[in-house]
Symmetry: C2
Subunit: 344 residues, 2 copies
Amino acid sequence: MKNHLPTIKEIAKQLNISVSTVSRALHDHKSIGLRTKMQVQELAKKLQYEPNQTAIFFQQGKTFTIGVILPELSEAFFSSAISGIEDAAHKSNYTVLLGQSHDSVEKEKQLIDTMKKHRVDGLLVSISKNTTDYSHFETLQRYNIPIVFFDRIPKISNIHYVACNMVNGTVQAVNFLFKKGHRIIGMINGPEKLPATKERLDGYIQALTKSRLKYDPALVINCDLTKESVCHATEKLLTGKRKPTAIVAFNDYVALDAVQQARKMKLRINKDICFVSYANLPISNYTAYPPLASVEQFPYLQGQKATETLIELLQKKSDDDTDVNNRTYYKIILESQLVLHDAK
Amino acid sequence: MKNHLPTIKEIAKQLNISVSTVSRALHDHKSIGLRTKMQVQELAKKLQYEPNQTAIFFQQGKTFTIGVILPELSEAFFSSAISGIEDAAHKSNYTVLLGQSHDSVEKEKQLIDTMKKHRVDGLLVSISKNTTDYSHFETLQRYNIPIVFFDRIPKISNIHYVACNMVNGTVQAVNFLFKKGHRIIGMINGPEKLPATKERLDGYIQALTKSRLKYDPALVINCDLTKESVCHATEKLLTGKRKPTAIVAFNDYVALDAVQQARKMKLRINKDICFVSYANLPISNYTAYPPLASVEQFPYLQGQKATETLIELLQKKSDDDTDVNNRTYYKIILESQLVLHDAK
DNA sequence: AAAAATTATGCAAACGTTTGACTGAATCAG
DNA sequence: CTGATTCAGTCAAACGTTTGCATAATTTTT
């Protein structure tokens, strides 16, 4: 039952020619006579010969595989991203090797190791929440495996990355509210240490300043994204001295929890209080009181761009045949954008 | 800048021993003296030697990789599934090679080919909507690559699969409604040709029969899952001769659209009309009028089980060293289960 | 007719690792 | 002291492919 797959050797033997001739014939090499070329190709077809890629990978030191490490595959944001990644990779004939870190640094390290072992040509990473030490990424340099980070990127400078800038989107969001007549605009922001939190705050302040509204720190409350802390923040905002008529929420989940809390407090959504947020749910259409608008972060696009960037790097690598670390780094920044929801 | 990675050969040369000794020393082979073993391991560490897996893959004809082909990575159901797959694979030291077919038969074929080329050890597939010809899967038999199908499985018998049986869940759903006092229960079902549609109908009829209610075909309307067809179906049900007080919807999306339509018709949700559906959204908590209950299909679990099954097959394969096609097929059926939602 | 160029093919090394078969030395039983 | 056993290690083949270099055969040029 040993079903030996046909190899180049066998073709050679059957045709009484050398393996190199067969190899070249299959590659349409010019130095092979038309006659033998035909013979080889015919027999190859007959035997349903298919080259053993593992041998080729090994021989060429290239696997046409890119590794992808994400925090959580089941999150809407990342599943869109991976979709973009896969599409872009497939287009350039690369394949995707996947791993999820579950936001554990330990697992992230393991995955890096696995990827290294599998000799992926390049790596796409969105780092885990808790990663602060980046040494495990550096080990990849020895292997000349380039990394492109996306969305969640390390706070170091000599890296390639693709990210979405939240400042602009936030400015748009606040402007939007301003134009609708809101003058007291609150914000339920995320955990302090997240870069994403800072960007939102920056945009918020920028927009206020431009509209000649004064920035009142009491109107911005951080939360840790749990339901309780969101409710708490909402309550605090809505019972504060200066009561906002609109709130910018850290993301859709936060917005939905805040809406619930506001309703509990007998406020009428979109009348007494309006919300805008940042998109991570595909379902705003279905919720009863969706935010008026969301800042879109284009996960699919981010994944796609990151992949294209990586593939470009790989291209360059094989062109120059030089070290990848040539001190020029891609920093690709997509602009977030406010998307208005249908007023039902 | 040619950063040659350390190999077994180099270690051998530096220590003036043969490569085989080094190899065995690194594998802790008993026939190697303690002294040399130590020396080798020490040098290996010092040089930061790591075996070249591509060489090993090639040499052993095994890649410790499983291929996964899904219709759509960004769909909640599949992203949960892939999460389960990755977790299970990682646990057994397998890695996941990913591809999405976008429900295109053509792309599905291409992916099969890619997976074959990469010499994955096994394959996990949820087939595209439009696949009716299964010959591309059969080509894998030559390569002795086992496939486990899950969720969307081909209608042929000599295959391994993991699926979730909807009959039981549907029975539970209808019973649940019956116990709540409903006597006229409608159903908005899916496209006729889908097996999933049939299972739901079977369960529906079974449950009715047991409760001694008569099955009235006018109360079951198929739709093609578009918003329009759902609205149309809902309207037809709710203006029919026998007006249902409860409706079983094909899935959460359908339910939400149906709810919208019902509200348009001035019916009070959960008073005039109740809904139950099948879970694919993680957000029922947030919607204004979620279905009373959902039949859960456990995508994460399905992915996990499928992976475990595949790995078991791979185990067997290497044990027996015999052909995988030994005429015994795993058919693993998870039972769907009704999950009640919090009444808010 | 000799030299040069072209065409078609073969040889063998290389990629890094594993592994069965073999060898030489030391140890041990009787 | 001989033969068997264990120990420590080496040799070389094998996995399938690519590719630089050599070679042989043929044709073209001078």
